[in-house]
């Protein structure tokens, strides 16, 4: 069974540009989560989508946004990139979105903002 996949693996942008990151969940999973892992800041929750709806978002500015498609894949968009947006962005998926549900992580997209 295929795990969570993310694309691209690496992404290099300049300040002010927009970045789009993509995630495909494990087959059968309806919930997708996005996390940011920045140096010195640890793993921080960004967004949670379930059944196409945004269920929760972390303490990030509105220029971080996303969506979930009917096939449950998801996109994370970061507008007006800033240098501090450089980080590893991890996507996870879970079966139902309950608290006891295990979140399975993808390999991440490394975003570098120059």
């Amino acid at each position: 069974e295929a795990g969570v996949t993310q694309s691209p693996t690496h992404l290099i942008k300049t300040r002010g540009q927009q970045a789009t990151l993509r995630c495909s969940p494990i087959s059968g999973h309806t919930s997708v989560y996005w996390y940011q892992q920045a140096l010195g800041l640890g793993l921080q929750f960004l967004l949670w989508y379930d059944e196409g709806e945004e269920r929760n978002r972390g303490n990030f500015p509105p220029r971080f946004s996303g969506r979930q498609f009917p096939n449950y894949s998801s996109e994370l968009n970061v507008n007006a990139l800033e240098l501090e947006d450089s980080a590893l962005y991890l996507c996870a998926s879970s079966l139902e979105g309950t608290d006891s549900d295990t979140q399975y992580f993808g390999p991440g997209t490394r975003l570098t903002v120059l």
Binding site: V4, S31, Y33, Y35, G42, L43, F45, W48, D50, R55, N56, G58, L90, A92, G97, D99, S100, T102, Q103, Y104, F105, G106, P107, G108
Partner: protein, 112 residues
């Protein structure tokens, strides 16, 4: 609000020695607890999880953890480590909002 504290940022240990990675959590409600491992340049892999029942939880790669409600701890242990266990380990707790709250991570350095 929930929070997680991993008490050691780095743990050096020799190969075949036992290891304990410490994790304390804070929560006013029932929690579910997880340990994940991250190898260099990779995503997170689930090691084990505590949902309910037996407080001793066994995971993959010979790891186990014990849930202690009175001490609000969920320490990770392995009786004999290998070089391949060198990685960063994260303790996490779920909130009631679907998100995982992670500790700052512990780097396990296994030396030959």
């Amino acid at each position: 609000a929930q929070s997680v504290t991993q008490l050691d940022s780095q743990v050096p240990v020799f190969e075949e020695a036992p290891v304990e990675l410490r994790c304390n959590y804070s929560s006013s409600v029932s929690v579910y607890l997880f340990w994940y491992v991250q190898y260099p340049n990779q995503g997170l892999q689930l090691l084990l999880k505590y949902l309910s029942g037996s407080t001793l939880v066994k995971g993959i790669n010979g790891f186990e953890a014990e849930f202690n409600k009175s001490q609000t701890s969920f320490h990770l242990r392995k009786p004999s480590v290998h070089i391949s266990d060198t990685a960063e380990y994260f303790c996490a707790v779920t909130s009631n909002t679907g998100k995982l709250i992670f500790g700052q991570g512990t780097t396990l350095q296994v030396k030959p």
